[in-house]
């Protein structure tokens, strides 16, 4: 055969071999193919033998082409081997990574707990110390010591639950102030989170709710310091540097001057309004004196946050009563460790 004929023949052989390797489905056939296409009796081998019939340049040229064909067959067989191997592996391991878990799922933390802890963390970073006080209080700590004597009209602002033993359920966490002031050394810088109770129940009031009280007593504490701490807290809480905050004169018997704090709020229609968020003020001198602190030397500020209100805004909860129904459809929405 001429060198041209040999080349054409080689192409045919190679083409046929590569096509049949593609079709191979198992190792056995792969081994057979190796013998068939590369073995001693293979067509390729007999074409190799024809090399001796060629001369000079033709011999070298054709030899090169035959070698190339051999290499390409070898690599095609290797590739097939790999692909068979990976297919075989898959057949043995039918693990389905998309299956649902058979573990019991994690539970949930009550949103009040989460908002409470989130707020406490902010205040602790601002170096407030956490304390607690009793929920069952006496009249002295809840009212009298906070400058709310018996006949004071402000008692009407607090619908109080009284117990048969003469005590009461505290109407605000401000009742913790007096104990803290009497027990601790100045400077006093505390927050007091906890449950409070009022005889009130409608769409915007529950008979039990949560507050966080804050108190700072030292020399030269000013209203501008109070504005600063409230600003920092609210902007941190809502994670909004540009939050609009306004202080508005108000009245609490235990602070003077007193203020109510509003934040700018957009309702779901996009309308802007001010929303009352907390009450605060400079501790009333009568309260300081009740706690044996000299009001001509020391001054201080105090504030009280409603946790439910904060939670509703932060988490977008519209119905206050959901907090105390303990319905899993509500509770299970709060699975994250942090907010």
């Amino acid at each position: 055969m001429s060198v041209e004929e040999l080349k054409t023949e080689l192409e045919k052989v190679l083409d046929k071999a590569l096509r049949s390797i593609k079709e191979i489905k198992n190792y056995e056939d792969l081994e057979k193919a190796r013998v068939q296409f590369l073995g001693k009796k293979s067509q390729l081998n007999s074409l190799m033998k024809s090399l001796s019939t060629l001369d000079g340049k033709n011999k070298a040229d054709f030899g090169k082409i035959v070698n190339q064909a051999k290499n390409s067959l070898n690599s095609s067989l290797e590739e097939k081997k790999k692909s068979l191997k990976s297919k075989a592996n898959k057949k043995i391991d039918n693990f389905d990574v998309t299956m649902p878990s058979r573990q019991i799922s994690i539970g949930s933390l009550h949103p009040i707990t989460k908002i409470m802890n989130y707020s406490i963390d902010i205040f602790q970073a601002l170096k407030f110390e956490c304390v607690e006080g009793p929920e069952v209080e006496d009249d002295f700590h809840n009212f009298t010591a906070l400058n709310i004597p018996e006949s004071h009209p402000a008692r009407a602002m607090h619908d109080t639950f009284y117990l048969e033993d003469g005590n009461l359920l505290r109407t605000h966490t401000s009742s913790v102030q007096i104990r803290a002031m009497r027990e601790k050394e100045i400077p006093i810088r505390i927050i007091a989170p906890g449950k409070v109770y009022r005889k009130d129940s409608d769409i915007t009031h529950t008979p039990m709710f949560h507050q966080i009280e804050g108190l700072y007593i030292d020399k030269d504490v000013s209203f501008s310091n109070l504005k600063s701490i409230i600003n920092i807290f609210l902007k941190s809480f809502f994670e909004e540097e540009d939050l609009k905050i306004r202080f508005r004169p108000s009245y609490f018997p235990f602070t003077e001057p007193s203020a109510e704090v509003d934040i700018e709020y957009f309702n779901n229609k996009g309308e802007k309004s001010w929303l009352e968020i907390l009450g605060c003020g400079m501790v009333h001198p009568n309260v300081l004196e009740m706690a044996n602190i000299n009001s001509s030397i020391y001054s201080g500020y105090a504030f009280g946050l409603g946790v439910e209100r904060l939670a509703m805004l932060k988490l977008g909860i519209s119905d206050l009563r959901l907090f105390y129904e303990n319905d899993l459809r509500f509770l299970e929405q709060f699975k994250r460790v942090k907010l």
Partner: protein, 653 residues
Amino acid sequence: MKFTKSWLEEHTNINTSIEELCDDLTMAGLEVDEITPLKNDFLIDVDLTPNRSDCLSVTGIARELCCISNNYSQKKSNAIKEKSASCELKNLKLNINNKKICPRFSYMFLENVEKNSETPKVIAKNLKDIGIGLVNPLVDILNYINIDLGQPMHAYDLDKLKGEISIRFSKSGEKFKAFDGKEYELGEKNIVICDENGIISLAGIIGAEHCAISSSTKNALIESAFFPPNLMANKARELKLQTESSQRFERGVDFDLPKNALILLQNIISKYSLYKFSDIEVYEDKNHLPIPHEVEIDFEKIRKVLGIDISNKEIETILSSLGCNYDKKSRKARNPSYRFDLEIHSDYVEEVGRLFGYDNIPIISEKIDLKVNKNYLPISVTNQIKDYLYKSSFSECINYSFTNEETSEDFDWKNVPYIHHKKISNFMSSNQIKLRSNISTSLIKNIEHNINMNPRDSYRFFEISKIYGNSCENILTCVVYGNKFDESWMSNKDKFDRYDMISIVEDISNIFGLKKDDILYEIYHISRNEREYIVLSISMDEFIEKIKNNSQERFRNFVKFPNIRRDLSFLIDTSVSYKEICKLVEEINVHSLKKILLFDLYEGKGIPDGKKSLGVGFIFQDERKTLTHEVADRNIEKILNNLIEKFNIELRK
């Protein structure tokens, strides 16, 4: 306090828009609750704080606006003068024994009351706009003056009064029929006004039915008095009889108003030529009238407490705008009679801050000394436990602290019957009768609610709250119900049992470096509505005490020699607790025994009644050398003999 813009304009010139007007009021502490547009007018509702009773009148609001800004100015035309009488003063015998209860009482007589049947149109419109219904011309005018000036007055049908008029405290149990048609039983210390026949009015609250003004009234007695706020406090509330009048008296009415109100009445009567009126008569005891407070103004302190830069002069201007009498020499300020809330220096600090504008006060952070961090243990421990429980598939609940009369509530947290609850004396609903003595009942109700709303195979709830039994205790309670696992393809349908709760106790104690025997807990079943709940309760107070006394975590060197394990499987009486077995083994004092391990418990089929089969592993280790099998065998022999001797155990093959 409701009023219309046009009514306000009778007293003040307003140079701002309605929005600015309301914003100015709000930012001065007179919070505008609602603005309702009316025809060519606006109805404004201001939510007043209890200290600002001086603003419970249109005059008061107008006066306040003039302090706030130059955009508002008093109308000068409003000065009114006392008129000369158009009828003779009748003889009124008045007897006020206790001058304290009514230090100022003024009155006037009217004749021809029946002749006029129509309320002047302007007055009728003003009242209607703010939602006060018309009664009859005279009463309407008094109501108008009440809102306009802030002085409540009362009109009596003079011909129905008899003899001497006296003012005294009520006696407990005294009955009184008011003109709202209802009979009230009075307590002690209500101020009552009486004639010879009995009570003619509950002072400052409401008049009696029998002598009220009617369409047939010919002659009237008009009362305009001052009753001290401390004696009026809570009185109307106690009787559930709050009126426009009582609301003002209990917060405090300007004691200078009673006569002015009667003068205004004279002027209105003359203007509309309504009735004949007498001269005004005033009985008073100045010793019992409120005294103005004198306060020395400390300018520096005002600047310091507010943190603002304001000159003495600016402060003085604010004081005079408030109507205070300020003496430059002594630096003393005296409050006007209508601002009796200004008693002490702080009150003036607030006024300066308020009129300076809270928004204008700068924001300055305090300088604080950094101190060593103090971790408040109860909250940090509680949060770590909550964290563990929620990651162990429990959902946290928060329930109300009070509860109802159901017998299921009559247990303490250890499930021991308890009935001496803290009772609430003024509950609103039957769900608030007493403070709960356990948490489990609340959590069971939560589970029942969820079984109805979202049924599933497995429920795990917990709550950490204070409960009130013999004392107030902080308790953690976990309640589980149903299968251990939610429905899944694993098809494990095991039910919860009490042993599941033990692992929780163990985990919680281990988290804080304690053992489960260190803490106070109870595990029990509760059956309710044919469902079996499993409850775990832990005393948090006790737990936190234990943690306080527990030293911090430290590394201990561990033994590097290998250990040898020997297992025993045996039958033992069911009455013997695992703890007793451990205790006995520990008492034998085998030095190389390092750990006891329970690997099997079996009761039931194949095991004789009253017996259980236990598989216990014993791990031996020598701290100084490799332990030999001979020693281990000797040790296990010793343990076995003791167990046989003490508990009569029977080895299983």
